[in-house]
């Protein structure tokens, strides 16, 4: 081998520190955003509260203390009790598990379907694109609330167990939400596939699977993460409204939405605010915090989109 092709004698020492990946740079940028970090702390706190808190509660979800109905907050019941004598704090934490879980799982379903569909449409174009995007159009044109009311009624009619209902709910909210993500992903991929590194994958003769899942989709992850984060907040609100209307999560399974709806008369509303203020605050705080994270992620991952 001749001198020219011998390894370059660079004077640079082998660096000790792990080099920066695009992700690390994004994490650093995120950490500098104070509001987003506060949002992250709040969400982590909500998760800990909802998933670990119940273990420290002296009560049980199905404790009906007939002697302690409608008590205001006290040292015995920190957030009071409801009309069946159940501890509000415990119910609020367990409801949080359901609401957060529905939000996360529903959004994951949307993202998986949406990203795959969008990637296929953007990569193969032609009739695949037309087909998938027309289906997405149909999903976008569906009036969501009436459909959910009908589906909720069907679930009630089929006498689905209340504990199973949340799984159907996750699926329904998830499937109804994929189209907007698929549009985002498709748009990105249409742009990416014209880049020179995609021509390189063609010249190398890589398999379509690798081109899509290793080259194209990772480059769309920033926008997927951002829209998924905001989607979680949306799904939580969605679930709460459905549960409030009595077609989402139904009692005795608690959710933040159906806890609020249990305060649906004027006396409860005015005289017993401990029934609805805690779950209401939970929804508000969680959704605001998630949106803060979403905005922070957008700024960190996709500086070009800023404002």
């Amino acid at each position: 081998m001749s001198a020219e092709t011998a390894p370059l004698k660079t004077n640079l020492p082998v660096p000790k520190k792990r080099p920066d990946s695009p992700w690390r740079i994004a994490i650093r940028r995120f950490a500098r955003n104070r509001l987003a970090v506060i949002g992250l702390f709040i969400v982590v706190f909500m998760f800990l509260l909802c998933f670990i808190g119940p273990h420290f509660s002296p009560y049980d979800l199905y404790d009906y203390n007939k002697l302690d109905k409608n008590l205001p907050p006290s040292s015995k019941y920190w957030l009071g009790t409801d009309k069946l004598g159940r501890d509000i704090l415990l119910r609020m934490m367990l409801a949080g598990q359901i609401s957060l879980l529905v939000g996360l799982v529903a959004t994951s379903i949307s993202v998986i379907i949406g990203a795959t569909m969008g990637a296929l449409a953007g990569f193969y174009r032609k009739w695949v694109d037309t087909l998938i995007m027309r289906i997405a159009d149909i999903f976008m044109a569906l009036p969501t609330l009436p459909i959910l009311i009908i589906l909720g009624a069907i679930l009630s009619d089929l006498k689905v167990e209340p504990s199973d209902r949340i799984y159907y709910l996750m699926l329904i909210i998830g499937v109804l939400g994929w189209s907007s993500i698929s549009r985002l992903v498709r748009g990105q991929i249409l742009g990416l596939r014209e880049q020179e590194f995609m021509q390189a994958t063609e010249a190398l003769g890589l398999k379509d699977r690798r081109k899509i899942f290793r080259h194209l989709l990772p480059n769309t992850i920033p926008i997927i993460i951002v829209s998924a984060t905001l989607g979680v907040a949306g799904a939580i609100i969605f679930e709460s409204s459905l549960s409030f209307l009595g077609i989402g999560v139904v009692p005795p399974t608690p959710s933040w939405g159906n806890m609020i709806s249990s305060a649906n008369n004027l006396i409860d509303f005015r005289k017993r605010p401990w029934l609805w203020i805690p779950p209401g605050m939970c929804i508000l705080v969680t959704v605001v915090a998630i949106n803060l994270i979403g905005d922070g992620l957008r700024d960190a991952l996709d500086p070009k989109m800023k404002k």
Partner: protein, 321 residues
């Protein structure tokens, strides 16, 4: 002469211009308009011409990164553009490309080691245990180091990225490499390193190059034969020595007169072309070069000059050559 590895026969590539409400085709950009040449095994063929004359389009159409409009590309006796998708994919490792822009030709989210090795996996050319060794070996051949394996592209300089691009092409053991202006995005000091790398690799691995460039001195250093393109057509083709000694086409003469000479006292007659390169969507009649040619006559405006052999393996398309 040895046997031809690549034969390009009457290759045309038009890009449709669409317009109007219904996206009808209202015209064509004739990026490549009937080009023929062949490249022998182990040879480097240089393709020169100014920006927009269709050099890169030829390179990409030969590799079938673009579909042809007309003509044939024969590689090792097989018509590339008539192969099925599966057959084409199997053919890919034999013909590779090095891109012009080392910044956009590497995926920012894929580590260098994976970027170089992934094609080996997809073609089933190596098992996973040997993979890393092969990649590191290739990195070192291309003048990079083993510890670069786990780095991301943005941590490299332009010259290093170009080495990565070369390693990525080289690891498949190709017979033919299209080098699409591989040095024009690099600093002059780095250009020499990359050119030397390419020429060493050619010697060691008996590679065949199609070297696309707008820099005649680069082509002179690396190529055996040179084709000069103007507005989608080949205007002159000859061996390097012949072309530099005896350029026949006025466009080639103008290009050669523009090569910088490292001697400020030397007086030279620069041939300075007037005007801009015409639009390939609406090329001039007759000889496409007549709008800028110092020798142009009425004949040139009316009649397309024949691309003819003037002996000594020297081809030219000019009425007055």
């Amino acid at each position: 002469m040895s046997q031809a590895l690549i034969e390009v026969d009457g290759l045309k590539k038009y890009f449709p211009i669409t317009g109007g409400v219904f996206q009808r085709t209202v015209g064509n950009v004739r990026a490549v308009d009937g080009v023929s040449f062949s490249i022998n095994k182990g040879e480097s063929f240089g393709l020169v011409g100014e920006s927009g004359c269709g050099k890169s389009t030829i390179g990409r159409t030969i590799l079938r990164l673009l579909e042809k409009t007309e003509g044939k590309v024969i590689f090792n006796g097989q018509d590339i553009h008539s192969l099925s998708k599966t057959k084409m994919r199997e053919m890919r490792p034999k013909m590779q490309i090095v891109f012009q822009d080392p910044f956009s030709s590497l995926n920012p989210r894929i580590k260098v080691g994976e970027a170089i090795g992934e094609a080996l996996i997809d073609h089933g050319l190596v098992n996973r245990r040997e993979l890393k060794d092969r990649v590191i070996e290739t990195l070192e051949i291309c003048g990079l180091a083993a510890y670069h394996y786990d780095r991301y592209p943005h941590e490299f300089s332009g010259g290093q990225r170009q080495r990565i691009g070369i390693a990525r092409a080289l690891i498949l053991n190709p017979e033919f490499i299209v080098a699409d202006e591989p040095v024009s995005a690099l600093d002059v000091s780095i250009q020499a390193q990359i050119i030397n790398l390419l020429s060493d690799l050619q010697r060691e691995k008996q590679l065949t190059y199609l070297f696309i460039s707008h820099d005649l001195s680069v082509v002179e250093h690396l190529c055996n034969r040179i084709g000069v393109m103007y507005l989608g057509s080949m205007v002159e083709m000859a061996s390097k020595e012949e072309l530099f000694r005896n350029p026949l086409h006025p466009y080639t003469k103008a290009l050669l007169s523009a090569v910088p000479v490292p001697d400020p006292t030397l007086k030279r007659d620069r041939i300075v072309l007037k005007g801009d390169i015409p639009s390939p969507a609406n090329p001039p009649s007759g000889c496409k070069f007549h709008t800028r040619c110092p020798l142009a006559s009425d004949l040139c405006k009316q009649q397309v000059p024949e691309y003819r052999d003037v002996g000594n393996d020297h081809f030219v398309a000019c009425h007055y050559a």
